[in-house]
């Protein structure tokens, strides 16, 4: 950096941080802002900057049956995914972290492996697999598929929180006369609750947002909102899709807000 004047090179770290922040706002938050702005335009087509202000596209969203139905499917699916994922993921995380399980590290890697598989591949292969099992395109298939990709998030947050808790608490409870079940309900569960909550919320957000997997299991009853939005976009380009996106956004923001108020967003930092 000798060719730079000292006054510039000494401030380089700071300047690059500012540049990074600017880029972050422009490329990550900018598009979101644009989508929200577009959803209020009075034009018949997607236009930015928006012209005027109207709730019309939100009305359109709630009038258009496929949107509403798929929105309900999405929400139901997200909740069911979080519950089923928690039912599978929580015990798995506890066993891997502190059970005397052989090959615990390998099992952990296996549990997290859906994260590193292309979603298209998971969706495609699950469609064949579940069809072969006779489940075909159904809400249950969709639930299984979403659970497969959500479990890693739950395992990771629960394991992260559990690992940070000293085994001394459980051992203390044991010496004080608690059996394994009592230890779990009186000590372990209350202490890992932030991880469970964050993991399950994460699972819901992943499920609500998912397109590549839901796409393979689409039918009139099982279309999720992202699937319907995509097919809507193929035929029309009116701002109601922007309204639908904004509604999804609000759902996600409310979820994050709840986590932040109850546990702080730190709890969601994917601990490994």
């Amino acid at each position: 950096m000798n060719w730079l004047p000292y006054s510039v090179s000494s401030r380089l770290p700071r300047l690059s941080l500012v540049a990074y922040m600017v880029a972050f706002f422009v490329f990550l938050l900018g598009p979101i802002f644009i989508v929200v702005a577009i959803s209020f335009t009075t034009t018949e087509f997607v236009a930015f900057p928006p012209k005027g202000f109207t709730w019309r596209w939100y009305e359109r969203f709630f009038d258009y049956e496929p949107f509403v139905n798929s929105f309900i499917v999405s929400v139901e699916l997200a909740v069911a995914t979080a519950l089923l994922g928690g039912f599978i993921g929580i015990p798995a995380a506890l066993a891997v972290v502190r059970g005397r399980v052989p090959f615990a590290d390998s099992i952990m890697t296996f549990l997290l492996s859906p994260l590193s598989m292309p979603l298209i591949v998971i969706g495609f292969s699950l469609l064949f697999f579940l069809s072969a099992l006779g489940l075909g395109v159904s809400f249950l298939s969709l639930l299984i598929a979403h659970t497969v990709i959500s479990v890693p998030y739950i395992v990771r947050t629960v394991a992260g929180v559990y690992r940070s808790i000293s085994p001394d608490y459980e051992e203390t409870a044991a010496v004080l006369g608690a059996n394994r079940i009592q230890i779990f309900f009186y000590i372990t569960l209350p202490m890992i609750k932030p991880g469970i909550f964050a993991g399950m919320l994460f699972a819901m957000l992943i499920s609500i947002d998912n397109l590549p997997i839901s796409f393979f299991f689409g039918s009139y009853e099982t279309n999720t909102l992202p699937v319907v939005m995509l097919s809507y976009l193929e035929h029309q380009f009116d701002p109601s899709v922007a309204a639908a996106s904004s509604i999804q956004l609000v759902v996600a923001v409310i979820g994050l807000f709840i986590v932040e108020r109850i546990y702080g967003l730190d709890a969601m930092a994917p601990a490994t």
Binding site: S166, E171, T172, A174, V175, L176, G177, N179, M191
Partner: protein, 372 residues
């Protein structure tokens, strides 16, 4: 249930031939240990000496490869930790953060299905005992380290355990608080008369608190005795050095009759004969004696009795209650440490670096190290 039936009872704890390996590492090597009812025994040693493994075996977190754990007259070796009727305090106290102080202390009673009225009165009693009356509704994070320690102690004792296990219980406290808590812990343990095992690597803590000290190293019990015994009469070099500063002299041993031995120590060209008392006939040959720094007196003139070694002051520091000297002896590798009590503000003689001095001590103040 051990928790409720052993009211006020002090039971003996016995370990018989306990050994434990972790892979290739021998954590405990065929160890026997008896703790008499109501006594406080400490397991003292460096990390990895097997003291924590011993505690965890007693608690039931580890199962020994061989041997028996007997409490009173019952072999508890096959029982899970929650059926052994013990109390335990960990170094970090592990107070349940989501429970109040009252709920923490009541936990063991709740597990033993003690009725709510008795729970309330016993929790109150314990809080009085640890000098924290009225703290029931507070949460652990609202307490200071010392208060948390007291609550942890109350929680472990409220079930009236047969044996109390303390794992470095004062390790997380700062120095002043630690000294206070040592007295406090001793008072509470004496009041309840609970047989107690304390694990520590802090020799001062072990000496201050215990009725019996067990010095361990590398999975073996080296010496068991009263604090005075293990400090004043260590059997081995390790015990001598682990329990505090110790000066060692090596040489050829000869029997001088009547419980007295003579050690011929060669420093350069000089040979000094040091006398030491020992009851058993340990034979002759190469041997080692140990002298504590505070047992040695310094003087300019050669004293006419006791063991005398000449040297030169190499260093001096004032440590408040005593002066610490490093004395160099010609022909000897390590300096000899001498602590001399600082008695009055102006009275005693302070030796300066470079000054020639005579170190002397009574023959009964050194100890022959017999097994090394």
């Amino acid at each position: 249930m051990g928790a409720s039936s052993s009211v006020g009872a002090s039971l003996e704890l016995r370990l018989e031939g306990i050994s434990k390996r972790f892979g290739q590492v021998v954590a405990l090597d065929r160890s026997d240990l008896t703790v008499e009812p109501g006594l406080l025994l400490s397991l003292l040693g460096p990390s990895g000496c097997g003291k924590t493994t011993t505690l965890r075996i007693i608690a039931g977190f580890e199962s020994p490869d061989t041997g028996r754990v007997v409490i009173g007259d019952r072999d508890v070796g096959q029982l899970p930790p929650n059926k052994r009727g013990l109390g335990m305090v960990f170094q970090n106290y592990s107070l349940f953060p989501h429970m109040t102080v009252g709920e923490n202390i009541a936990f063991g009673l709740k597990m033993a299905r003690v009725g709510p009225r008795e729970v309330r009165s016993r929790v109150g009693e314990m809080l009085d005992l640890v000098h924290l009356p009225g703290f029931e509704e507070r949460y652990p994070h609202q307490l200071s380290g010392g208060q948390q320690q007291r609550v942890a102690l109350a929680r472990s004792l409220v079930t009236r355990p047969a044996v109390l296990l303390l794992d470095e219980p004062l390790g997380a406290l700062d120095k002043n608080l630690r000294e206070n808590m040592q007295f406090e812990l001793r008072r509470i343990q004496r009041t309840l008369g609970t047989t107690t095992i304390l694990v520590t690597h802090d020799q001062e803590e072990a000496l201050t608190l215990s009725d019996r000290v067990v010095v361990m190293n590398q999975g073996k019990i080296l010496q068991v005795g009263s604090p005075n015994d293990v400090y004043e009469f260590p059997h081995t070099r390790f015990v001598s050095e682990f329990l505090g500063a110790s000066n060692l002299f090596e040489g050829g041993l000869a029997h001088a009759g009547d419980g007295t031995f003579e050690l011929a120590v060669t420093h350069g060209e000089d040979t000094t004969v040091l006398r030491v008392l020992h009851d058993d006939n340990v034979g002759t040959g190469e041997a080692m004696i140990a002298v504590r720094p505070e047992k040695i007196s310094l003087s300019e003139e050669a004293p006419d009795r006791g063991n005398v070694v000449r040297g030169e002051v190499a260093g001096h520091v004032f440590r408040g209650s005593y002066h610490a000297y490093e004395i160099e002896v010609a022909g000897r590798d390590d300096p000899v440490f001498v602590y001399s009590q600082a008695r009055s503000r102006s009275g005693e003689q302070v030796f300066q670096p470079g000054q020639a001095v005579h170190m002397s001590w009574d023959e009964s103040d050194s100890v022959l190290l017999t097994d090394n």
